[in-house]
């Protein structure tokens, strides 16, 4: 049953991706990207990663739809066909995909309990985390205590990215009036 759900959802993901590639109306591409995110969240749910699915749905379907629409406000909604040949990007993409598939050959079977990753430190965390950290949730204690420096680094990266975006937006607002007038003239109804 689970395999069947995965097959259907992954096939739909591939179909949506091909549809996005051939779609020239960028408004429709935004809608299709939202659909892609919801399907991907469903795949992650079937794979038992409910928290990742939640992130995918909120970031992919919620926030990036809004951000992409904000981008569409600045550009036109029809994509012009590229003059250059798509052969080299296609070759690069196929080669990268083939390398990734080749990389999965050496992995241990999917979902088995005696994989190396489940033998390393996970049993110790499960057994001792409540005693050592007094946090009832093992995921929280792992992220915020055992891997605290790791999480600190991630937060620093996100903070830096946020500051960068704020600086870019601030520079734009300073000469914002001219840009507003331009977009009003240039936008098609």
């Amino acid at each position: 049953m689970e395999a069947l759900i995965n097959i259907v959802l992954l096939t739909l993901l591939a179909v949506i991706t091909v549809g996005i590639m051939f779609q020239r109306n960028l408004f429709a591409v935004v809608v299709l990207a939202g659909i892609y995110s919801f399907l991907m969240a469903s795949v992650l749910i079937v794979l038992d990663a409910v928290d990742v699915a939640m992130t995918e749905a909120s970031v992919g379907a919620g926030v990036s739809t809004v951000v992409l629409l904000g981008t569409l406000h600045l550009v036109r909604t029809i994509e012009y066909p590229s003059k250059r040949s798509a052969l080299i990007p296609m070759l690069v993409a196929v080669a990268t995909g083939a390398a990734l598939v080749w990389g999965t050959i050496g992995l241990s079977p999917f979902g088995t309990a005696d994989n190396a990753i489940h033998k390393h430190v996970a049993p110790k965390y499960l057994a001792d985390s409540v005693k050592e950290t007094l946090v009832p949730n093992v995921v929280t204690s792992t992220l915020a205590d055992y891997r605290g420096y790791d999480t600190l680094g991630e937060t620093t990266v996100i903070f830096t990215a946020g500051i960068g975006v704020l600086l870019l937006l601030k520079g734009r607002r300073r000469r914002g009036h001219i840009a507003d007038e331009d977009s009003k003239v240039g936008r098609t109804a």
Binding site: M1, L39, I45, V46, A57
Partner: protein
């Protein structure tokens, strides 16, 4: 029982994705996107019961909110051409 529900949801997903790709107008696509969000919630609930974890139902509520936000954003952008619009109609 739940397996049958999951199967029918999958069939509905295939039909709606077809409409989203083919859709002659944009509104077909927006409606298809909204339906896929709803079907994702249903799939979440059905798979949750199928695998014996009905706690996933709470996540469905969040999905519903997200679905509403993205659909509203798309429709507001289509109506006003701007997400920061205050929503009042200008009388010519």
């Amino acid at each position: 029982m739940f397996a049958a529900a999951v199967l029918s949801i999958l069939v509905a997903l295939v039909l709606v994705v077809f409409r989203a790709l083919k859709g002659p107008t944009l509104f077909d696509r927006v409606l298809a996107g909204n339906s896929i969000g709803t079907l994702a919630i249903l799939l979440l609930a059905a798979v949750g019961f199928l695998t014996g974890r009905p706690e996933w139902l709470d996540i469905g509520i969040t999905y519903g909110l997200l679905n509403l936000i993205s659909t509203l954003a798309i429709l507001k952008f289509f109506r006003h051409g701007d997400l920061a619009h205050d929503g009042e109609e200008k009388t010519p």
